[in-house]
């Protein structure tokens, strides 16, 4: 009796597993055809009853202007479509979205960063091309919303955020310093600041990504001026990162700033979250960072005068422009595709877009929406860099694979494990592997 039961239990268990394994296998085979079907099937839905669309957004972006409650209410009133928010835990946003897209639990709209969507979310496979939406014709700068030659995302702003050297203008004024135009001038500026008893540069390299600001802008500036096709070549395996001697020079420059004693002492223990405090206490004069730091500091103390200048890696270098973040995307498998697109149309209307641009101090991306008066530092960036076209998209914009290993290698340079050429060689190896895994031609 007992043995019989055991046998039965084992048998049933085995068959349950066999069935579920088989189900798993066939699901994968069906996916492509499934997505097509749902794509065409849903576009026709537009009947009278109320529809609820799901918008997934990282908790860290919950201040986004696109999900302000009054905006959602107005949309619901006008179009009888309710927007339900899914707030995702910040540190798991990518993983949760990957899972949702993989198991067909797709939200109708996602807020994410375009550059990361390319590497994390498989943009081409998962998201709608928006080239034919009515608002596209009014865009001033299509590039910030595009990848692979198509508009994939939506935003009312074209201000991508800039990366360079954040500096304390008051300290520069007190010490009579000019903005440095090349690396030698930059070292001279550091020397003078150090002599006055202030730490010239804050390097929070416990956060490995912070070590990437200098090279990301310097590499891109070099490529734009000397080899415009360089990143295309690298992404097709016609060139290696270690082939460009200037890249090693740029990494060496950042290391020299540390070695010459122009930074905080314990750079690998200090983290980015300490930066605002360091600037408020006037302990540090400069940092290689994005202009979002200036925004964060002035929120705490509006009397702080911070500015931004280009990473001085070469004579007259351009200011690094980060790829734009916080765009809205519509997944191909969205259950309410038409309604989701209607939401984008609604935000793109002149009145709504103007309201958001005014409130947020954005640089408008629509030809019929006016850019409001900008904060001082931003106006300076516009006058000195954007208008004279002295900006360049950082390397991040060209990376097709996860960059965190590069960040760790940069960190290792400062831990003494690798020299600049070693960093580039090790990254070549990892990059090659990741590109091969991704199935990019040439690898």
């Amino acid at each position: 009796m007992n043995d019989k039961m055991k046998k039965m239990a084992t048998g049933i268990l085995a068959s349950v597993m066999a069935v579920s394994l088989a189900a798993c296998g066939s699901e994968n085979a069906n996916t492509p055809s499934n997505s097509n079907a749902s794509g065409s099937g849903n576009s026709g839905s537009g009947s009278g009853e109320k529809v609820t669309i799901e918008l997934a957004i990282s908790k860290s972006s919950q201040d986004s202007a696109f999900i302000a409650q009054d905006l959602l209410d107005e949309f619901e009133q006008k179009h009888n479509i309710k927007v339900n928010l899914q707030l995702l835990p910040a540190e798991q946003t990518a993983t949760v979205l990957q899972t949702k897209l993989a198991v067909d639990e797709t939200p109708d709209i996602i807020q994410y960063n375009l550059a990361s969507a390319v590497t994390d979310l498989n943009l081409e496979r998962n998201f709608e091309i928006l080239d034919n939406e009515p608002w596209v014709a009014r865009l001033l700068n299509k590039d910030v919303l595009s990848a692979e030659g198509h508009v994939y995302s939506f935003h009312v702003s074209q201000d991508t955020g800039m990366q360079g050297v954040v500096y304390n203008k008051d300290i520069f004024k007190e010490l009579g310093l000019e903005i440095p135009n090349n690396f030698e001038e930059f070292l001279a500026v550091c020397e003078k600041i150090k002599a006055s008893g202030i730490t010239p540069v804050f390097m929070p390299f416990k956060d490995a990504w912070a070590a990437n600001i200098w090279p990301a802008a310097a590499f891109a500036d070099y490529a734009a001026k000397n080899e415009p096709a360089l990143f295309d070549d690298i992404n097709a395996n016609r060139k290696k990162w270690a082939d460009i001697p200037e890249f090693a020079t740029f990494l060496q420059q950042q290391y020299d700033v540390y070695k010459k004693g122009y930074t905080n002492a314990d750079i690998l223990s200090d983290s980015y979250d300490m930066a605002v405090g360091k600037f408020l206490n006037k302990e540090v004069a400069m940092m290689f960072m994005g202009d979002w730091l200036i925004e964060n500091v002035s929120e705490k103390d509006p009397n702080m005068h911070l500015g931004l200048f280009a990473i001085p890696s070469a004579e007259g270098a351009s200011l690094g422009a980060s790829p734009l973040g916080g765009q809205l995307f519509v997944p191909k498998k969205a259950k309410h595709l038409a309604e989701a697109k209607k939401f984008l149309e609604f935000i793109a209307t002149k009145e709504i877009a103007q309201k958001i641009v005014d409130n947020q101090g954005y640089v408008s991306n629509f030809n019929d929406v006016n850019t409001p008066e900008l904060p001082e530092y931003k106006q300076e960036i516009v006058d000195q860099y954007i208008t004279p076209k002295k900006t360049v998209l950082t390397t991040d914009a060209y990376m097709l694979v996860d960059r965190s290993e590069l960040y760790r290698l940069l960190q290792d340079e400062f831990a003494g494990g690798l020299d600049p050429q070693g960093v580039l060689k090790a990254w070549d190896e990892k990059f090659n592997q990741l590109m091969k895994d991704k199935g990019v031609a040439g690898f």
Partner: protein, 290 residues
């Protein structure tokens, strides 16, 4: 015999068995399958690729470093937690007035969240942090280190923090073990003229073996599966210097290499099983009964 079997029907095993199968056996087996595939973020189809993932694990320098670090961490913490745990337990099993309060104090770190530990220890372990200042004050400047940022010692630092946190838990198990040893053995030994070291090795250790078994298992499995201590203290850094198998799994998933991540996971599971089960059988044989 027959009656006792009929008391509870065999059917009662079903709910637990089903839950166990659905939430453990089935995922574990699918995991095993996926570790032989090229399952990736940007692949539409999943292909069976044999041992490729495992081959990669043993040729990738970072992955090998992570395996080495995991072994260092496991060995150091097993020794540290158990030797200190027994020492503390024996000490606090003596007739001390303050023994209850001391037990509570030594146990308390193990109820703290590892995040709290990281917030407390990170500033202490900085190069100008409390620990180095303390060493300077007592004239041991030569011993001060960049504890969490020097690639050659970082994994040892993390292991030390883990020992500090968990020794109290091991101590509690040893205390329970000690209290089950009858006082008469010690009395007899004293009469026979055994010193305290002799009674420790001849009575305490053999009779403590069941507790030692449990603790060795727990610390070894915990040591091989280490993730949170490394993640919160160093994030695997500087560079990749303190990566362990657990953080490598996270990294592989982050890079979208899901198949590879699952393979590393499978390997870890296999390693834990292969090391733990023979050890358990070996230690069981050594156990003596009173």
């Amino acid at each position: 015999m027959k009656i006792s079997k009929k008391l509870y029907s065999y059917y009662l095993i079903w709910p637990a068995l089903i839950i166990y199968s659905v939430f453990f056996v089935f995922p574990a087996l699918t995991g095993l399958y996926y570790s032989f595939t090229d399952w990736r973020l940007d692949r539409e189809t999943i292909k069976f690729i044999g041992w490729d993932n495992f081959e990669r694990i043993f040729t990738d320098k970072t992955l090998l470093l992570a395996i080495k670090n995991t072994c260092i961490f496991a060995v150091v913490t097993v020794l540290g937690k158990n030797i200190l745990g027994i020492a503390l337990a024996v000490g606090l099993n003596m007739r001390l007035k303050s023994k209850n309060i001391l037990r509570a104090i030594f146990y308390s770190p193990s109820i703290l969240s590892v995040l709290v530990i990281s917030i407390v220890f990170t500033p202490m372990l900085r190069s100008e942090g409390t620990i180095n200042k303390l060493l300077d004050t007592v004239g041991l400047h030569s011993l001060s280190q960049a504890w969490l940022t020097d690639p050659s010692i970082v994994i040892w630092t993390v292991a030390a923090v883990s020992i500090w946190q968990h020794t109290g838990f091991q101590m509690a198990i040893y205390l329970a073990g000690l209290q089950s040893i009858s006082k008469e053995y010690y009395e007899a030994a004293t009469i026979d003229g055994a010193g305290s070291w002799k009674s420790f090795t001849a009575i305490t250790l053999p009779l403590l073996l069941p507790a030692i078994n449990i603790n060795l298992m727990l610390t070894l499995i915990g040591g091989l599966k280490v993730f949170s201590e490394v993640f919160v203290l160093t994030g695997g850094g500087p560079g990749n210097a303190s990566q362990v198998v657990g953080t490598i799994i996270l990294r592989s998933f982050g890079e979208g290499s899901w198949g590879l991540g699952t393979a590393v996971n499978t390997l870890l599971f296999a390693a834990v099983t292969i090391i733990a089960i023979p050890l358990l059988i070996f230690m069981r044989r050594k156990e003596v009964s009173e």
